[in-house]
């Protein structure tokens, strides 16, 4: 054993001198043949290192073959050979690479190194792959090191940086070298320097590299732990509870395990004597106190093992102290890592706020799209349209039907947007003519009638399209997302929806402020009688306005369908939020709708961020907030004031 180690050490030192020494590998293997045939993780290390360092061009092949179970012994002559699958059989070659004929599996004994040994071989192989002529293989090696960093890879990696020619790979190697240095370098100063060189880089891999340095374990002891890197001292009641602390004591063999209620029960049941346990009748053991008494009686009699009492447990807890200690022993390293993580966390928070802002904007855009049609019918005409949600659904289904006939997604969306407008515009005009026209000035009855229409429409859509979700696929160029860094990104679909919302805002403003129709709509809104006397036909205006609001709902449906699932109930999911958007923003004002959507979108995202596990709760709190908000601003954020507001 010791002899081989010496030889190996010698070869290791000689290796650079014997560069390109053909046959060196074969020689090392020959010298350590026993170990290679039956390798153990503890002892094979030096052999593998020697092979890797031999400089023999065959070493790479031999190690790879060994790891792949292709290093075989020919039963006939007990020769160690490399095997390569070749058709049904195997072609063989000697350790110096010369061909050695073919064989079948039956002729050969495979060497089967265990997982530990294969790990060592793989680490040794790294230096070959890191300098492999093929850049793809070098990149793959870097990825595999990054995924599972080990101390062994540090040196080969450093060695491979110099010779790297590809600048991207070189940068990657340098970055990885720093990650490995900060974890595995024997010199603490080098590690601290590596940590500090990272600055406040927010990339995920930086945080992944730093986090293991500040990992802690929880220990218990009579006094302060000696020679360990203490992260903090723990207080029972604040940092951990009694039972957790006691469990630590038990784990450290500092206290006996406590009796669980189930064990107590089993022990009592095992000692029933004449209907009594420890002198207490079984029927009286219906309280915990009685059971404790019975168990104490049994302990006194010696029939059961003594268990720690509450007092003993308390005393044990009081006699010990509890600590979180770093797995990493060096305090300078942990301090540096902690400081770096704090720096990074601070920067990440800023990034997250930015990301949250983007999310909120895109949600606001969706709410705005869903609500703007409603803002027109409700805000401008004072008509409540509870079937608005179903118009959104109709728009989405229009998109689905178009995609059935037009397979090109880009083209189909371009057709679907105007078609959805036409379909829901028609539905809106029909509804206005048939129902709502008769109910002007009776808002509650309009609300009810449109409910009826909503119930009927939703069921009709369900009957036609079924209950399962239908796909509405976005064109390929909308796939993926715009990524700024590991924290901040936004999907292209959401950007598209945002742009669409902006377009609608512009369109609406243009329509209301710059066109004849907008002028007439505003005139009818403010004073229908006067408008009628000036030659404006209020019937026509109402019809067009309602159709417009409904048509926009249809377009919003296509947009929403692109990222949400299209079901007959999808519109209903948006109706309450849409109303809230309009009401919170202030009725009768497109800027109000925009403000309402922005506020509701941001708030919802904020609540989701504060309570990420529970989107249902977010919606609950959202609605509660809105109810409270209306207390303080009953007319919404942007309110019409004075006489024009009515009372």
């Amino acid at each position: 054993m010791r002899l081989t180690a010496l030889i190996v050490a010698a070869t290791l030192w000689l290796a650079p001198a014997l560069a390109f020494a053909e046959g060196q590998a074969a020689q090392i293997i020959a010298e350590n043949r026993d170990q290679i045939e039956k390798p153990s993780r503890q002892t094979i290390g030096p052999v593998i290192t020697a092979l890797a360092a031999s400089g023999d061009p065959m070493a790479d092949d031999i190690l790879s073959a060994w790891a792949d179970k292709r290093l075989v012994i020919r039963k006939a002559d007990n020769a160690l050979l490399l095997a390569t699958p070749d058709g049904d059989g195997l072609s063989l070659s000697a350790l110096d690479g010369t061909p050695a004929g073919t064989a079948t599996k039956a002729d050969l004994t495979e060497l089967k190194p265990n997982a530990g040994v294969r790990g060592l071989i793989a680490a040794a192989l790294v230096q070959f792959t890191l300098t492999d002529p093929d850049p793809a293989r070098r990149a793959a090696a870097l990825t595999s090191i990054a995924r599972d960093p080990t101390a062994e890879t540090l040196e080969p990696l450093r060695a491979a940086i110099e010779t790297e020619t590809d600048p991207a790979l070189k940068a990657q190697k340098q970055r990885l070298e720093r990650f490995l240095t900060l974890r595995f370098d024997p010199d603490p100063e080098a590690r601290v320097a590596a940590i500090e060189s990272l600055g406040s880089d927010t990339a995920l891999d930086v945080r992944a590299a730093l986090n293991p340095l500040v990992a802690t374990t929880r220990i218990a002891g009579a006094g302060a732990p000696q020679g360990q890197n203490v992260a903090r001292s723990l207080t029972i009641g604040r940092d951990l509870n009694d039972s957790e602390a006691y469990a630590l004591l038990v784990a450290a063999n500092l206290a006996p395990a406590r009796l669980t209620l189930q064990e107590q029960r089993d022990a009592l049941l095992a000692n029933v004597v004449n209907g009594t346990i420890g002198g207490i009748p079984v029927a009286e053991l219906n309280t915990q106190a009685a059971r404790d008494r019975a168990y104490t009686a049994l302990e006194a009699a010696g029939t059961v093992a003594a268990a720690a009492t509450d007092d003993e447990a308390k005393a044990a807890l009081a006699a010990h102290r509890f600590f979180d200690v770093y797995v990493e022993p060096d305090p300078t390293v942990t301090d540096a890592a902690r400081a770096a993580l704090t720096r990074i966390d601070r920067k990440v928070s800023v990034m997250q706020a930015a990301d949250l802002g983007l999310d909120a904007l895109s949600l606001a855009a969706i709410f705005f799209l869903a609500a703007i049609g409603l803002a027109i019918t409700f805000g401008v005409m004072g008509v409540i349209n509870m079937a608005h949600g179903e118009f959104i659904t109709m728009g989405a289904y229009t998109g689905f039907v178009v995609q059935l006939f037009v397979p090109d997604y880009t083209l189909s969306i371009l057709i679907a947007l105007p078609l959805a407008f036409v379909v829901t515009f028609g539905a809106g005009v029909a509804m206005e003519r048939l129902v709502i026209r008769h109910l002007y000035k009776r808002p509650l009855e309009t609300l009810l009638a449109t409910f009826g229409i909503s119930i009927a429409l939703q069921q009709i859509l369900k009957n036609v399209f079924g209950t399962q979700a239908r796909p509405l696929t976005a064109p390929g160029w909308l796939d993926g997302s715009l990524t700024f860094n590991d924290v901040v990104s936004i999907s292209y679909i959401r950007i598209a929806i945002f742009v669409l919302a902006l377009v609608f805002l512009m369109f609406f403003l243009y329509l209301m402020k710059r066109t004849r129709l907008g002028l007439e709509v505003r005139a009818v809104t403010q004073n229908p009688a006067m408008a009628a006397s000036m030659g404006i036909n209020p019937d026509r205006i109402n019809m067009l306005t309602f159709g417009l609001g409904s048509g926009i709902a249809g377009i919003a449906g296509v947009a929403i369908g692109l990222y949400a699932k299209v079901t007959s109930e999808m519109g209903a999911d948006y109706i309450v939020q849409s109303f809230m958007t309009v009401v919170v923003g202030g009725v009768g004002n497109v800027w109000g709708t925009l403000a309402g959507a922005t506020m509701i979108g941001s708030l919802q995202k904020l609540i989701e961020f504060l309570n990420p596990s529970n989107t249902l709760a977010a919606q609950t709190y959202m609605i509660l907030f809105i109810i409270l908000f209306i207390q303080f601003r009953p007319r919404g954020i942007i309110a019409l004031r004075g006489r024009a507001a009515g009372d």
């Binding site: 004031r641 004075g642 006489r643 024009a644 009372d647």
Partner: protein
């Protein structure tokens, strides 16, 4: 005579438009007062402020012997203090009988609990009949008030105001749409009411005001332009220029 209602330094702004500008006004406990002024002079806003519908930006409104501030109170509390208001258009509860309308208005506890267990006493019913007879609706007690004519609704509303027994009555253009005979009748009613309480009449019709024969307050751009007898104010050159001259 001590003032029943004292309005001082009140201002209201709607969207930058000063509807009432540093207005001061007071009326005694048994006084008839007419308020005139061009459109937009702030007549209706003034009534809104007194009845609690509009909250002024500045100023004080105090009422009664204890000089109760009306500013912190809502419409219902102010009405219970004894301020009655008659709108220009008759607003009665058309779905209910004349009798039910009058019982609603009758001075009595207003809280839900008291109303729930309230059972009209014979004296209340007698008072309702008396009021109905007074305004000529004695035969119509059991008719739905929606079936009444426009003029009858006006009278029903006046009877409701009387049933409320207000100490201050604000009347908005009572003569609008009335026949000369009805006007005469209304004039007599208002004059007799003013013997026991304060009555403020907002009116455009100079002839009607002349017949009321009372002090007149002229409002212009939210503040008092002139005050005094009708003859006095109609001689005022300012009044003539802003109001009478145009009319």
């Amino acid at each position: 005579m001590t003032a029943l209602l004292e309005v001082s330094g009140v201002s209201v702004t709607f969207d930058g438009f000063r509807a009432i500008n540093n207005l001061s006004f007071s009326i005694g406990a048994a006084e008839l007062r007419a308020i005139i002024g061009p459109n937009g002079a702030g007549k209706t806003t003034f009534m809104d402020i007194v009845t609690g519908k509009t909250r002024p930006d500045a100023g004080t409104v105090s009422f009664g012997e204890r000089s109760l501030s009306l500013l912190g109170m809502n419409e219902a509390q102010i009405a219970r203090e004894g301020v009655g208001r008659k709108f220009q258009r008759p607003t009665v509860f058309e779905d209910q009988t004349v009798e039910a309308n009058l019982i609603l208005a009758l001075k009595a506890p207003r809280s839900p609990w008291r109303v729930l267990f309230c059972k009209p006493r014979q004296s209340d019913l007698a008072r309702v009949r008396e009021l109905a007879d007074e305004v000529g609706l004695g035969d119509h007690l059991q008719r739905k008030s929606g079936e009444l004519s426009h003029g009858q609704k006006q009278w029903l509303e006046i009877a409701m105001l009387l049933a409320q027994e207000p100490r201050l009555l604000l009347v908005d253009e009572p003569a609008a749409g009335m026949t000369p005979a009805e006007r005469e009748h209304t004039t007599a009613l208002l004059v007799s009411l003013a013997k026991t309480r304060a009555v403020v009449v907002v009116e455009h019709d100079m002839e009607f005001i002349r017949r009321l024969n009372c002090r007149v307050t002229v409002l212009h751009e939210g503040s008092v332009l002139a005050e005094g007898s009708l003859d006095h104010v109609t001689r005022d050159p300012q009044v003539i220029s802003v109001y009478l001259g145009r009319g």
